[in-house]
Symmetry: C2
Subunit: 346 residues, 2 copies
Amino acid sequence: MSQGTKDTITISLDAMGGDNAPASEVAGAVETVLSHDGINVILVGDEGKISGELKKFSFDNSRIRIHHAPDVIEMHESPADAIRKKPNSSLVVGLKLCRSGESNGYISAGNTGAVMAASLFTLGRIANISRPTIGSRFPTEKGITIVFDVGANVDCKPVNLLEFAVMGSVYADHIYGIDDPTIGLLSVGEEKSKGDTLTVEAHELLEKSGLNFVGNVEGRDILKGSIHVIVCDGFVGNVVLKFAEGVLGILKSKFKDYAEQGITRKIKAGMAYGTLKTVLKDFDYQEYGGVPLLGVNGVSIIGHGRSSPKAIVNMILRAEQTARAKINDIIAAKIKNIKEFVPGTL
Amino acid sequence: MSQGTKDTITISLDAMGGDNAPASEVAGAVETVLSHDGINVILVGDEGKISGELKKFSFDNSRIRIHHAPDVIEMHESPADAIRKKPNSSLVVGLKLCRSGESNGYISAGNTGAVMAASLFTLGRIANISRPTIGSRFPTEKGITIVFDVGANVDCKPVNLLEFAVMGSVYADHIYGIDDPTIGLLSVGEEKSKGDTLTVEAHELLEKSGLNFVGNVEGRDILKGSIHVIVCDGFVGNVVLKFAEGVLGILKSKFKDYAEQGITRKIKAGMAYGTLKTVLKDFDYQEYGGVPLLGVNGVSIIGHGRSSPKAIVNMILRAEQTARAKINDIIAAKIKNIKEFVPGTL
C-alpha cells in the first residue's frame, strides 16, 4: 500500500448539494482545514450564500476559497436533463475543476444519480472499465466489507461484475490497507451453479481473474464481515443497502412500541436503547464519509443528502486519501492485465 | 375472506426433513393434535424412527398415523437428482399423499430446493401460472409485509412478477384477512422509470392488472410494513431474506463486543439484551411457521431446516388454513381474469 506524497491536496466541494447546503458543507470544510494539514478546499456554489456561512468561522483564508457557480440542481430533477441544462451548477463546475487539475478530487452530497452521471460525463472512464461503480461499506460483526455495486448499474453483464471486483479489490487494498482482499460474488447459494444467469457467468470470469476470489456468498455474509469485497449488480446492491439503512428505523420503532407497554418496560427500553445506540453506531452512515464512484477518470465521492458537517469532513478526508493513493492508475494497470488474461472480457 | 368448512383437514408431514428430524416433527405433530381440533397428521418417513419418537407422548391415536417411506434426501443433494433417484423418500411420498387426496396439505422442513422441485413435479401448476413462488413474511415496524419471490425463481420475466403479485394478493387476503392488499414492486427508486429492465416492464403490467398496485418501493419499505405484498425476482428476494436473517446475528455479536469492554458495559449489555430479544421476536423466523409455495396444484409449506416443534406446529396450522381457504381455486380464477385483460401476458 502506497501512502503517496505529502503535497497539498485540493478538494472541490459541491457546496450546494446536500439537504442542509451550504451550511453543512461550509462547516465541514472549515472543520477539515482546522483539524488537518495538507488539504485545501474549493467551495463551489452560490458565492453570496457560501460567504455568508463562512463568515461564522475563523480559519486560514488561504486554505479555503469560493468558486462561484450560480445554478442549483434539485433532488427531483432528471440527472441527464439537469447536467445538460445547468452547466454552471455547483455539481458540474466542481467536477470541471477536477478535470482541469485545479482540484485533485471532488465531493458532493447532491442527487446521487446526477453526481454519477455528471462525473462520468465530465471526467470520462478509466481505460478498459465499461461501467463505473459505487461501493458502500456495510456494518459487520467484525472486519471490513464493501459491496460493489450499490446503484450505479442496474442491468449488468458478467464482465461488469469482474470490473467491480477489480476496482473493489484495489480500493480495499489502497484505502483500507487490506493486502490481497478476498472477493465474494453475491448469490443465492454457495455452490458455483447457484444463482441467476448473470452470477453463474460472472463466477466463471472471477475464477479465472487471478483475484483472491472465494466464490459465491449469500445475503447473510454481508453482515458477517468475513469477505472484504462483495460484488453484485447495482439493483440488488441498492435494495440491500436501503434495507440495511432501514434496520435502525425498525429497531427504534420496536423499542418505542415496547416502551409504551407500561412504566417498567419504559424504563427498561430507555436503558437498553442507550446501549443499543452505542452498539449500533456502525449502522450510522454518517460515519463512513460517502461512497466512492470508481472507474471514472478522477476522484469523485458521493455523500448522503442528509450529510452532517462530520460526514462532509469524512468525505473530504476520503477524497484526499483516494487522490494520494493514485488508485485510478493502479486500477487501469490491473484491469488491463486481467482483461488480457481472461478470454472474452476485452 | 372465506373460513371454509369445519371438516377435518389432514396434513402429510415430511417427518425426516429438518435438521432435528424426526424428533421436532413428531413433537410438533403431537402438540398440534393436543391443542387443536379438526386436524389429523400423517407422519411420513422411517417407521421405526418415527414410532420410537411417538412412544414418548400420549395422544389420540386416531389422529396421527405413520406412512412408511424409507429413503431420505440429504441437504447437500441436487434437488432434481434426489427426486428422481429417491421416489420413496418422505419428501416425495408426502407430496404424493397430497396429490392423491389422502392429505389436504403437505409440510416439510427439508432441503428447500428439493421441496420446491418435488412439489412442482408431483402436484403440477395452477393453470396460467408459469412459475410457482415462495413468499416470506418480514418483520416490520407495524403491519404485515410478505415478499414474493424469495428464491423459487432467480431469472424472471415481467409476467412472472405479475403472477407473484396475483398469488401474493390472494394469499394476503385469504390467509391474513387483508382486504384488497396493496402491492409494491421492489426497485431502486419510486418513479416508474427507475429500476432494471425487468422491473420497468413489470411496472407496466402491474399498472394494468387491476390489482391494488401502489408502484415502486425500495429496500427500506420492506421494513416499514406499509405495503402488504412486495414482488421481486427470487434472486434479490433471497438475498434480502438472508440479509434480514443475519441482522439478529450482528446485533448479538455487537452486544457481546460491547459487554467485553468492562463490567459496567457488561451489566448494561445484559439488561439491554433481554429487552432487545423481546423487542425483536419478530425477527425470529420460527414464529412464522414456514413459507408457502404458491402456484402448485396443492398446499405445500416449506420450513426452515432448523424448525423447532413450535415452528412445525405453526407450519401445520398454516397448511390447514391454506387448505381450508381453497386459495388455489381463487388464484386460478383471478389469474385467468387478469391475463385475459392485460395484453401480452397469456
